[in-house]
Amino acid sequence: MSTSAAEHAPGRAPADGIAARARGLTKAYGSGETTVLALDSVDVDIARGRFTAVMGPSGSGKSTLMHCLAGLDTVSAGQVWLGDTEITGLKDRELTRLRRDRIGFMFQSFNLIPTLNAAENITLPMDIAGKKPDEKWLDQVIDTLGLRDRLGHRPSQLSGGQQQRVACARALASRPELIFADEPTGNLDSRAGLEVLGFLREAVDRLNQSVVMVTHDPGAAAHSDLVLFLADGRIVDEMERPTAEAVLERMKRFDVIRSQFETDEQFETDGQFERDKRFETDGQFETDEQE
């Protein structure tokens, strides 16, 4: 459980440790009567060397969960560990360093600094830290993602799919303990999306990385090893070796429950929806499902 990232055994291994862990993780917005729980006492273990997907309807708290695990957001109660470091209670400076050195990020859009070219974007976290990148590893990442001939390009000269590949390379470059991907395919067409998912899969299988991906797309979730289903701030289910059909079926059940109480709860929990919408970028879930 306390093995460091460098000691990973190669190949697709079963869970050989815990990359991140939360106990009693609670995130509340507002106070007093208007308090809304985005996360309600969540216990979760993210396995090392695996590809974990977090799914759930809008407002289920999946993005909040990712932000809390990644040290981007503070928690209201409970504890979070990255590896064996407890990150709850860390100061901003320590959290910043932790994100820089031990976590990789991919967002849905606006992943790259427009003034830097692809190579500079990829090594940015290490440059910020003043560290030399591991050239061999970097070459491997760049070749795996097929970015060799794009390194000198600025983000504006890259397609959406290429941009996400650069973001993926950046997340991998410092060989972090855990990579968080927030809707990484949300802005891509299906081919480019598949490509990016393929790379994340490869990162886990060939480069032995640990990936947590938040998504609303059952097809994307199907690329993972394990799907965690979130609803109303709780983990309500999980699914090993998912398929798109199975995930979709599972999601449909939430939808029914959700539409039942959404009508009477919406006014009371206005605050929560407002806030969650800012963090979550889906909202097209229902349309997707109908397609």
Partner: protein
């Protein structure tokens, strides 16, 4: 549409704040200077109007000297009796009032004002129009007694019973202070000593038969104008200046006006700088606001607003901003005027803030400047806003205008730049001062405009060089800050332009003043041959006694006196030139190195002889041997023969046109009793100059108005006088910097807002707050230094060209004050750091999650 405009105005009030500040500053300077000069003018008009006699008879002043001649112009005292006989005269007084004196206390310290205001000695004659009243002690009786004004007594700690020494033209005498006279009106800053009338005439003018003016009061029912006509009929208008109270007040105010005009013009200069730099700030703010609102404007257009409406909406916003800024500026201007008035009382001019005059022109000017400038500055951005296509509402354009080619700018910029450069070349090659100076003015304006237009084009190459070391020194933070500065060349260019304008002026002026200092140094080295120069700081002449005492000092060899005389010459080309000529003793060649194109010193100083500058002579067809009609004060006319032409590098060293000079006997003949302005002293054979200096210092201890200077001291004096010009430059720099800082703050603040998501991303992937602040600081420094480099480069070119103009006046040396220039560059980096403080803090406080999710 108006409602939308108002909403938008209020929504952006934070961002408009800095623009408003620029408007406030410029309006404040305009309003402050107008209020101040109105107040001063009104106060003195009142003072002079209330203290002038109904009719005053004065000696005729036909020629005004550029430097004081030290001579008190007089009328015969008997004139009073003649005037008294005129019908309608109620009373007549032969007034004595002179300024060619120095008053020192028992420790030989001058009690006169240190501000350049005069020390006046006058006869004690009380009427209801006297500006002063006896407030303690008693009136002076007979010789040896005097009154002193209360302000001077207070400032110099003189009490009743103290003894003062008056160094007057006829001779030095001592008086005991027997009373204090207090101003009933505004004290214009002078020191006043009153003597009893007979003593005044005797000891100040040397004879009781003279007076400096005749003051006439009209009998009841006789108007000032009527009385004037009758007095003119009686004594004639050719010999005397006869003025009514109104006329007298006006001319007195005009005499004072020169000094006040300087303050007014300096203030208006500040206002000009503030307006000029403020324009950039406003243009930039509106451009950025519009860039940010491209989508919103696109939506308005998509919803059916036509171009005119969009443009009008932006301009309405500008006018609102102008109105708010002008109103605040007017208020600040009133405060500024009050401050200036207080400052004047520190100089001894007791103006009252309660009597502040705000003429109708002040608010009109304030609003015209404030609203006008804002409107003009917002016009271009407004036009750009109007061409936003409705499609912009749908497109995901990051920042409008970034990628647009700068071709128009390049063309217009280079055309104006070439014209400006041509004008500067014209300035350098022109042979005449007047045409050269106008070429310079044109060149300065055109090159400034060209640099402002082409500024954005220079951003890339210059910042590439300036920031070249950044990635190496600061890593990816340095790289990002450098590229951020390059991101929107228009914006960076306009922001830097604000700093550029001020620093270009500073650069130009400092080169000019350094060159002047150097030229004067070389000039002094080359021409001044005397061991010592004895003179007053401002060429104010001193009494004959000083000359006598210096001549009597042990170890003094040759003494050459210099005395000035106002003259008018009628030249062969038909022109009449009024100027000031200098008179010298023989022996000039031993105290100065004068080079002659024709003739020699002896010929020029001989009776009836005249020397002048060879260039001036050429310009006006004068040759050696020409005989010119020359006028001296009091309508005296004579003809003088041009006996020598000087070919000095620096004929205009004292700014006297023509460089006319002749023997001191000529001055004495036409202006009897004049005072010397300078003495050039050589040590006698076998006397060590150091020893002589000690002797001279001892001799002159009793005469604090004059100083002994050797060459080094003399250079220092000149440098100090030029330094005054520099102080003005530094004050300009200060104001320009304040506004430029506002501009940089503005740009950075808006950039930070625009890059919210980018900042959020950087923070998410591990950029520390400190690093983020550094990134913004570095960007700010790059922009500021870019502005400084551009400004100084322009300023250096201007300075070198200015020196070329000065060279025509004989100031041939060019000096570039590198230390100042380096200091300015370093200072601009500091400015960048200061400007980045708030925006950097704001960026580092940004919530990471909110920033990531920011639209």
């Amino acid at each position: 549409m108006l409602k939308a405009t108002l909403r938008s105005f209020l929504a952006h009030k934070g961002r408009l704040l800095l623009s408003a500040l620029a408007i406030v500053l410029s309006v404040a300077f305009v309003a402050g200077s107008l209020i101040f000069s109105d107040t001063v003018t009104r106060t003195f008009d009142r003072l002079f109007a209330s203290t002038s006699a109904d009719v005053t008879v004065e000696p005729r002043q036909d020629l005004k000297s550029q430097v004081p001649t030290g001579e008190a112009q007089t009328v015969p005292a008997s004139l009073a009796d003649r005037v008294a006989k005129v019908d309608g005269v109620a009373s007549v007084h032969a007034d004595v009032s002179v300024q060619n004196i120095t008053v020192v206390d028992s420790r030989n310290k001058s009690v006169g004002p240190t501000t350049g205001a005069p020390t006046i000695a006058a006869d004690w004659y009380v009427t209801d129009r006297s500006p002063v009243a006896l407030t303690s002690g008693h009136a002076p009786r007979g010789s040896g007694e005097a009154l002193l004004d209360a302000d001077t007594a207070d400032k110099k700690d003189v009490k009743i019973g103290d003894t003062l020494t008056v160094l007057a033209q006829p001779g030095t005498f001592r008086v005991r202070v027997v009373g204090i006279a207090t101003f009933k009106t505004t004290n214009p800053g002078a020191a006043l000593v009153f003597l009893d009338p007979k003593t005044a005439a005797d000891q100040l003018l040397g004879t009781a038969a003279k007076a400096t003016s005749i003051e006439v009061m009209a009998a009841k029912g006789v108007s000032d104008a009527q009385l004037k006509t009758r007095v003119v009929d009686s004594v004639g208008a050719r010999t005397y200046d006869i003025k009514t109270a109104d006329e007298q007040a006006k001319s007195a105010a005009a005499d004072l006006g020169g000094f006040l005009d300087v303050i007014k013009y300096v203030m208006l200069g500040f206002a000009g700088i503030a307006v000029l730099v403020g324009v950039f700030l406003i243009v930039n703010t509106f451009s950025m606001l519009i860039a940010q609102r491209t989508r919103e404007l696109g939506l308005l257009r998509a919803l059916g607003a036509d171009r005119r409406q969009v443009r009008r909406s932006v301009l309405t916003e500008a006018v609102l901003l102008g109105l708010v800024g002008s109103t605040l500026g007017l208020a600040v201007g009133i405060g500024l005027a009050a401050g200036l008035i207080k400052l004047m009382s520190a100089f001894g001019m007791n103006l009252k803030t309660t009597e502040m005059v705000i003429g109708w022109a002040t608010p009109v000017a304030a609003y015209v400047v404030g609203v006008g400038v804002t409107f003009v500055a917002a016009y271009l951005p407004a036009r750009r806003a109007a061409v936003v296509s409705p499609m912009a509402a749908l497109a995901d354009a990051e920042i409008a205008g970034v990628g647009k080619p700068l071709r128009t700018r390049a063309i217009v910029g280079s055309v104006v730049g070439v014209l400006g450069a041509a004008a500067l070349v014209g300035c350098v090659t022109a042979a005449k001062t007047a045409s050269s100076a106008s070429f310079l003015g044109l060149g300065v304006v055109l090159t400034l405009i060209a640099t402002v237009i082409a500024g954005p084009l220079l951003v890339r190459p210059v910042i590439r060089v300036l920031g070249a070391a950044f990635p190496a020194v600061f890593g990816s933070i340095g790289r990002m800050s450098q590229r951020n500065a390059l991101r929107n060349p228009r914006r960076t260019g306009a922001t830097a332009a604000a700093l550029m304008v001020g620093l270009a002026l500073v650069g130009g002026m400092s080169v000019a003043s350094a060159s002047m200092s150097k030229s004067f140094d070389e000039q002094i080295d080359k021409t001044l041959g005397a061991d010592f120069v004895i003179q007053n700081n401002n060429f104010v002449p001193f009494s004959k006694e000083v000359t006598d005492k210096v001549r009597g000092t042990e170890g003094v060899g040759l003494v050459v006196r210099q005395r000035f005389a106002p003259v008018a010459v009628r030249l062969p080309d038909g022109k009449r030139v009024e100027t000031t000529a200098a008179g010298y003793d023989d022996g000039v060649d031993d105290v100065a190195h004068v080079t002659y194109a024709a003739g020699n010193t002896g010929a020029a100083l001989a009776p009836g002889g005249l020397g002048m500058d060879v260039d001036f002579a050429k310009d006006h067809d004068v040759r050696v041997g020409s005989t010119l009609p020359v006028e001296f004060p009091g309508g005296q006319r004579t003809r003088m023969r041009v006996a020598a032409l000087t070919d000095q590098d620096n004929s205009g060293g004292f700014g006297m046109q023509g460089g006319l000079f002749f023997g001191i006997a000529t001055v004495e003949k036409y202006i009897p009793g004049g005072q010397d302005s300078a003495l050039y002293v050589n040590a006698s054979n076998g006397t060590n100059p150091d020893r002589l200096r000690t002797n001279l210092d001892k001799t002159l201890d009793a005469y604090p108005q004059v100083q002994v200077r050797d060459q080094a001291d003399y250079k220092k004096l000149v440098h100090d006088q030029i330094a005054v010009l520099l102080y003005l430059v530094y004050a300009l720099l200060g104001l320009a910097i304040i506004i430029a800082v506002l501009g940089v703050v503005n740009t950075l603040a808006l950039s930070v807002v625009e890059r919210t998501r980018e900042i959020g991303l950087l923070r998410a992937i591990g950029l520390a707050r400190r690093q983020l602040r550094r990134m913004i600081r570095l960007e700010s420094v790059v922009i500021a230094v870019f502005g400084a480099v551009l400004g100084l480069a322009l300023g250096l070119v201007w300075g070198v060209c200015t020196q070329q103009v000065l060279a025509l006046q004989g100031m041939k040396a060019l000096a570039i004050p590198w230390t100042t220039i380096v200091a300015v560059v370093i200072g601009s980096a500091v400015v960048g750091i200061v400007a980045a403080l708030l925006p950097a803090l704001r960026a580092s406080r940004m919530n990471v999650l909110a920033a990531i999710a920011h639209e």
